[in-house]
Subunit: 80 residues, 2 copies
DNA sequence: AGAGCATTATCTGAATTTAAGATAACTGAA
DNA sequence: TTCAGTTATCTTAAATTCAGATAATGCTCT
């Protein structure tokens, strides 16, 4: 297991998060503020340098206003 | 963000993973083998000592035969 | 073109997490 | 109680992640 960074699903996850942040009209700095984190945190997340855990994903869905189970559905269709 | 370990959602996630592994009739050792990991890896996961990332969650869903988007739906209902 | 501003990416130690592998503890059946 | 199967914990090395700063990139306006 261990290395999920850079897999097709991970890349798709990132793309989804970026798209959702942009759709919400937020900058990395603004999202970071909502999360109580630095902008570099969001940058590392979105540049694939850091894994996204399940609980964080749910928080992000809440903040960005997307449906986590629908998003998961999309991701699950991607070939691992 | 950062600390998602031990949150209500994290505990629920773990409970779900354990239930699904048991429903699949697998021991930690057997699941570990499928994952290419040690039994202690699964133990740490299930005892809440390690975060579960989104991509791993999808892999686990595949191996344990559960629907990740349905599982996510359950988790998302839990108060954060 | 370029000045200025907003936005995103990268860098550097330090702190935190994670892993391997072994061993200990627990559980239940005979 | 003993034994086998299963799960939990320990140790230390390795890998991630972080804070905070700075650099790079991209707009927009003139």
């Amino acid at each position: 297991m261990a290395k999920t960074l850079g897999t097709a699903r991970h890349r798709a996850l990132i793309a989804l998060l970026i798209a959702r942040r942009e759709a919400a009209g937020l900058t990395q700095t603004e999202l970071a503020a909502k999360l109580g984190e630095y902008q570099s945190f969001v940058a590392r997340l979105e540049s694939g340098q850091r894994r996204v855990d399940v609980v964080e994903f749910l928080q992000l869905a809440g903040l960005l206003g997307f449906d986590p189970h629908e998003a998961m559905d999309q991701l699950s269709r991607i070939q691992e």
